[in-house]
Amino acid sequence: MTPIDLVVNGERRSVTVGDDDLLLDVLRGLGHTSVREGCGVGACGACTVLADGHSVSSCLARAVRYDGVALTTADGLPAADDVVEEFVAARAMQCGYCIPGFVLMGHELLAENPDAGAAEIDAHLEGNICRCGTYLEIRTALENAARRRREATRTEKEPA
């Protein structure tokens, strides 16, 4: 067993983990049940977390490797998160089980490429499964979130 510090949504949490404990189980144990198992093999995206901003399948990630790494879970996003707001506005959920994973993938994409359009969105979401079939709403939500970020950037750049 190894003592590690997980930095989850900005909060440092000291835990002791076994070598093969999965990040998924450790985060759920800490109450972050927005991180969910769907397939156990990294193929559905329900267990997505961001590690230093990069998406990771926590069902395949050994927790011991994330000592000190900044982790983001969907439940820890700010109260007024632009991606969350656009998902709600676009009705981008049915059962909702997979949606936190899509939200985090969206965050990763828009941080890298705020100009992302439908093709880039689709490419980035290709490993996330929404069995309810809410893909079109999800794409719309991220197109709108991208637009919102571009507009925010433009406003910032405009001379006072």
């Binding site: 049940t33 193929a43 996003l77 049915q94 059962c95 089980y97 689709d122 069995r131």
Partner: protein, 784 residues
């Protein structure tokens, strides 16, 4: 159905409205997006032991020994329980099932499929339980297995020595103790007199196959159970809490009232999480060992819990010289796997629509439910109907083409209309097949010429319609609590699994009371709290539970009117409920709901309660003809049309435009209806093109999400057009009916018909993989 005349009469003139037909935001939308909504496995539980089962490695074998010594030696393992152990404690009650009591939660004496639970390992922690399960050694004496449905029909080997119909169903009594057969149920439909085809008629016939598939809701199955004195409590991801309560009470031989079943919002289900899944084993272990247990399964195990029926159909259809369908014949064989589950019901309910939604002079259907040595097949969105629709919508298309007629026009002439009596004997109402067909073909601009390139990519268009009967008879109840602050709490046992029932029911409850969006909270199903509801399945909730909810809300309105009349000193007929509260039209005196309840009870924080039930009745179908004047409470009508290209080099199908329509009576929430129409269609695209369970000698070979094929965002059609068709049902709540299955039913044949249009080849086996398409193109080239 039962009608409460008071509620109908009292409705007039006092309908505040403002809820039904509105695009209210889905309840818990933000919590869902942020992942803060708790599913069953997210609940904080009392300390539980973890249970993992050791599974059969044989498709058909006698269990000669179970050696658990090594498993028990694993650190953390508490005990190992076998089917024989539970059978000794519970007797034959260990065999459960919704139609046949044939499935033990742990195999007793014999295994019937690869993956069947043989022993339960109880341990402190999942890892220990899983490690223990690896160590259970089972000695088998192998029996000949039967994997193929048509081989199983012919005779030995037999999966079950004796049929075990459930005592619940009187119409299955004649099957009790029947031996030497794998056919556990047979439904026959005979309509009209067989006759020689008239001169100039055209007949088409084919063999069709739909493979078994899996639901793959992304939330994995989960059940926890514990005993508190003489009561058993269960928390389970289930669509059927009321069923589970009775099933578990019967299993344990304890009173219904001693069992509490709680469900939770489901992360999808589509039929996977209903009837007896993990609950019997969890209940049996918790009860007999007086301990708290938790069963959480992996995705690989989830594939073994239930599947969609593979189905073979031998079908033919005849049109006379005028283009009227004069005869249809279907021989349907559902592969129900090792246990019947609800297969017999599927066999009957889908058999009765195997000829499609057409005016047909003479129809014959033989529909059989057949055991094989595979995981059990159960309910799946569409309840067996997509499999027979695959047949009739392919046949109708070929029939139109054989006559040189446009497939849409041919269907339009033959489709059932309002008031027509279907071949099964029940009249049509609020099922506008023609309207749905027109909607989807209009969306595709069907009558304008299609650009048809002649090179590598070929383009085609196809259409299909679908019909399904709602489950009948069933029962729903609702209890409504109006809080003194004018919010409301609705107690129903409908489970929200993404279809949006918590939102729809809130809208129905709000409508008669004029309550605003966000003011009605639906309580998550809990049999200690929420009243009986048959099941959340088969697109039945909006109509059935919706009617109970509407009645409860109307009863509440009547109560408020009575209280206000007493307060105002006027007759009840003088009081109106408005968005602002209750008003006397005579005196103009008014009181808001908070004021009224405060005054009535003399206290703040009080609640006023109303309740209602809704039941449907049927007339059982005739044993000989399979017909009934009231075989179902209502019909679902839907249509799909696809425009696509086929890459003749790779065999890949690319759907450019998919239009789907359903007659929903009335859309309670149009936005959510569109999501159901679209979501079912996208699932249907998977079924059409690649989604299937592949077996090898009874073993699933693609039972992980690395291999099992589900539509991703790349598989979504370029354009999807969902169309709501509304022909209000005379007894639906505000005219409404359900919608969850409507568009999955015609989806696969619509795509296959478009492929037929594009490349001139009729494919009869699903899915339409690139390999099948290229093989067919190669054969076509060889012939020409």
């Amino acid at each position: 159905m039962t009608v409460d005349p008071r509620s109908s009469v009292a409705t007039a003139g006092t309908e505040p409205g403002g809820a039904v037909g509105e695009r209210w935001t889905r309840v818990d939308a933000r919590a869902k997006v942020r992942g803060e909504l708790h599913h069953a496995a997210d609940e904080a539980l009392r300390p539980c032991l973890d249970v993992v089962v050791a599974r059969s490695t044989r498709p058909h074998a006698l269990i000669e020994s179970v050696d658990a010594a090594a498993a028990k030696a694993v650190d953390g393992v508490v005990d190992v329980v076998t089917g024989a152990d539970l059978h000794a404690l519970l007797g034959d009650a260990i065999f459960t099932g919704p139609a046949f009591a044939d499935q033990p939660c742990l195999a007793v004496g014999k295994v019937r499929y690869v993956g069947e639970p043989v022993a339960a390992v109880i341990a402190r922690g999942q890892a220990a339980a899983r490690a223990g399960a690896e160590e259970v050694a089972v000695g088998y004496r192998e029996l000949d297995p039967v994997h193929d449905v048509d081989a199983a029909v012919l005779g030995a080997p037999f999966v079950h020595d004796v049929l075990r119909p459930s005592i619940v169903f009187g119409d299955l009594a004649h099957l009790r103790d029947k031996r030497d057969t794998n056919v556990n149920y047979e439904y026959t439909l005979r309509h009209g007199e067989p006759a020689e085809p008239p001169p100039g008629s055209v007949t088409v016939s084919h063999e069709f196959w739909c493979p078994p598939t899996h639901h793959v809701p992304i939330e994995l199955p989960f059940t926890a159970a514990w005993r508190i004195g003489d009561r058993l409590e269960i928390l389970s991801a289930t669509q059927t809490p009321s069923y589970v309560r009775q099933s578990v009470a019967d299993l344990l031989g304890i009173p219904l009232g001693s069992v509490r079943v709680r469900s939770a919002p489901l992360g999808g289900s589509f039929g996977a999480k209903m009837y007896d899944r993990l609950e019997p084993l969890a209940a049996a272990l918790a009860w007999t060992r007086n301990t708290a247990v938790r069963l959480a399964v992996t995705r690989e195990e989830a594939f073994l819990l239930t599947t969609r029926h593979g189905c073979a159909v031998t079908g033919s259809m005849t049109a006379d010289a005028d283009g009227n369908i004069v005869a249809a014949d279907s021989d349907v064989r559902y592969d129900t796997g090792a246990y019947a589950d609800v297969g017999p019901r599927i066999t009957a309910k889908s058999g009765m629509v195997a000829s499609g939604p057409y005016r047909i002079a003479q129809a014959h259907v033989r529909s059989r439910c057949v055991y094989t040595n595979k995981p059990s097949a159960g309910p799946f969105r569409g309840f067996g109907v997509p499999q027979v629709t695959w047949s009739h919508e392919s046949l109708v298309d070929e029939l139109a083409r054989a006559r040189g007629e446009d497939p849409a026009a041919f269907r339009r002439r033959n489709l059932l209309r309002e008031g027509d009596v279907s071949v099964v004997g029940t009249p049509m109402h609020s099922a506008d097949f023609v309207g749905c067909l027109d909607a989807v073909t209009d969306a595709l601009d069907w009558d304008s010429p299609l650009h048809r390139p002649t090179g590598r990519y070929r383009r085609g268009r196809g259409v299909a319609v679908g019909i399904k009967a709602v489950l009948t008879p069933t029962i729903s109840n609702a209890v409504l609590q109006l809080n003194q602050d004018a919010s409301a709490t609705l107690m129903i046992s409908t489970v929200d699994m993404g279809q949006g029932s918590d939102t729809i029911m809130a809208q129905i409850a709000a409508e008669p009371l004029g309550l605003p969006e966000g003011s009605v909270r639906v309580v998550t199903a809990d049999t200690d709290v929420t009243p009986y509801d048959t099941i959340t399945a088969g697109s039945r909730s909006t109509y059935h539970t919706g009617n109970a909810v509407r009645r409860a809300a109307e009863a509440m309105r009547d109560k408020l009117v009575d209280i206000a009349a007493a307060r105002f000193g006027v007759p009840a007929t003088d009081v109106k409920l408005t968005g602002d509260g209750l008003v006397s039209t005579q005196t103009q005196e008014s009181a808001s709901i908070p004021e009224l309840l405060h005054g009535h009870f003399g206290a703040r924080g009080t609640t006023l309660t109303s309740e209602a039930e809704f039941r449907t009745t049927w007339q059982p179908y005739d044993k000989e003809t399979g017909r009934s004047p009231q075989v179902t409470e209502h019909w679902f009508a839907g249509a799909a049309a696809a425009q696509l290209t086929v890459d003749t080099m790779t065999g890949r199908v690319h759907v450019e435009h998919l239009a789907i329509a359903g007659d929903v009576g009335r859309a309670i929430n149009p936005a959510m209806v569109e999501q159901q129409l679209t979501g079912a269609a996208i699932m249907g695209v998977g079924h059409a093109l690649f989604d299937q369970i592949v077996f090898d000698e009874g073993q699933i070979v693609n039972g992980t999400l690395l291999d099992y094929q589900l539509p991703s965002i790349h598989d979504v059609p370029d354009k999807v057009t969902p169309i709501i068709v509304e022909n209000p049902h005379r007894t639906g709540p505000f005219g409404a009916k359900g919608v969850g299955e409507t568009t999955i039913i015609p989806l696969a044949p619509a795509i296959a018909n478009a492929v037929r249009d594009a490349i001139g080849i009729r494919l009869t086996r699903l899915p339409l993989t690139s390999e099948r398409i290229l093989d067919a193109l190669a054969a076509q080239e060889e012939q020409s």
